[in-house]
Amino acid sequence: MEKEKLESLIIDFIDGKLLEDERKIVEQELMRNPAAYKLYEELKEVMQAMHTASRLEPSANLKLQFDKMLAEEMQQQKPAKTIFFQPVFYRVAAAVLLLVLGGGVGFWISRQQQQAEELRAMKEEMEKTKQMMMGMLDNQESASQRLMGANVAYKTIVKADDEIVNALVNTMNEDPNTNVRMAALEALSKFHSQPHVRKALIASLRTQKDPLVQIALIHLMIDMKEKGITEELKRITTDDEALPAVKDEAHVGLLKLS
């Protein structure tokens, strides 16, 4: 008899589900075949175990332990709840922080913009002053306006750009009015540390015909300790056109500078 068929037959036999003739066949087989009997024995044991297992009740101890475990688990879940709350707090904090940060950044940007605005306003103001000054220096009608222009340059302009310097140099060398020339020279003397201003001042000494400006220029050069003008001073001391007072200053300059 095939093993599988026998097995199922034996299982049915154990369960008592077989018909009369089938039960007889199985009994005969069990009597005759020790291997079948052994299989019957094993199967019976397994099936009995299965039966007892299906009826297995959890022990009181097990239940107690389980309850305990459950309680513990529930206990552990309480702190878990607070853990759940904390991220909310953090989120609020983060939101507030973000708001403050955003506000701060916004404020900073606006301040930056304000500063830029102020800077631009200042620049505009400077540009205006400059234009006003240039306009005044250019006023051919009134010497006092030109004088005021030079005074504005002297008082308000901190660092002169080329345009301003050129306008002032032009005024110093070409203006028909001595007082205006002197004022332009004074304004330029404020910027004498700028190399091109220095150069323009030295160059002016060569062409300047106005005795007052000549004297003022020589004085300025002495103050600046400009040694490069000694040749020019020598020329002035022998210049027939130069006023005695200018020659005197040139001599003083030569004494002080060399």
Partner: protein, 256 residues
């Protein structure tokens, strides 16, 4: 009685004729440029024409010259009968005298809005005088002094050898720049004027009336700023730019 009346009338008339030696230009603005005129007094007044009058009287009259026109080597024409050439160039009126030396004594009355520019280089002539002028004055002389009486400015005055003396009006206008090389600069100013003054000399001295409360210019560290030859300070808190300087002589700032 009647005879006396007629004589008086005649006398006044003749005086009137003598004073009628005048020339007028209808201008109440612009520039009056006086060049190389030796004897000039400029007076401010509230009219609207520039009036030239001669103070020389009949002295210069020449019977022989009657009906002739005076011309000069420098191409000028006596269009005023005062020995003066007055040329109206629109915004600028140029005044020159025909004679190279000496020349007529001229009084010029100028309205308020006229800028007066006076330039003079020859060694001839007198001080130039300005009285009650309420406009801008520009003076540049080589030898002649400058006398200012009750003027308002703005003033730009320069002379090489001349002295500059003057009194400024209470309604003084900036800028005031008065410089001389060899002459002294002596200016009287009302004590109430708010001014930023700069007084300079190289070889002279500077004198200021003690009634002027002068705050000397200070550095950032609140130290008085000294320079070799200039005193810079503020009167009554500062304001109008006033610059007085003489290279070889003294500078005086006195109260009016």
């Amino acid at each position: 009685m009647r005879r006396i009346m007629t004589t008086i009338t005649l006398m006044t008339l003749s005086i009137g004729f003598m004073q009628a030696q005048e020339y007028k230009v209808a201008k109440s603005s612009g520039r009056l440029e006086i060049r190389e005129v030796n004897h000039v007094v400029v007076e401010g007044y509230s009219g609207n024409e520039i009036v030239f009058t001669s103070r020389s009287g009949k002295r210069d009259d020449d019977e022989r010259a009657k009906g002739l026109r005076s011309v000069s080597a420098n191409g000028l024409e006596d269009n005023t009968n005062l020995g003066l050439s007055v040329v109206d160039k629109g915004n600028v009126i140029e005044v020159q005298q025909l004679k190279r030396m000496d020349g007529p004594e001229i009084t010029i009355k100028v309205p308020k809005g006229v800028t007066v520019s006076y330039s003079h280089t020859s060694p001839h002539g007198d001080e130039i005088e300005f009285k009650n002028v309420e406009g801008e004055i520009e003076v540049s002389t080589m030898h002649n002094g400058v006398q200012l009486t009750n003027v308002t400015g703005p003033l730009t005055i320069k002379t090489v050898h001349g002295d500059i003396e003057g009194t400024l009006n209470a309604s003084v206008k900036a800028p005031i720049s008065i410089v001389s090389v060899h002459g002294h600069v002596d200016i009287a100013l009302p004590t109430t004027v708010k001014a930023s003054v700069k007084l300079g000399t190289v070889y002279g001295e500077i004198f200021v009336d003690p009634e002027f409360k002068m705050d000397l210019e200070r550095t950032e560290n609140n130290m008085v700023k000294f320079s070799s030859d200039t005193v810079t300070g503020k009167i009554n808190g500062g304001g109008l730019d006033i610059n007085l300087s003489s290279t070889h002589n003294n500078v005086y700032l006195r109260k009016k």
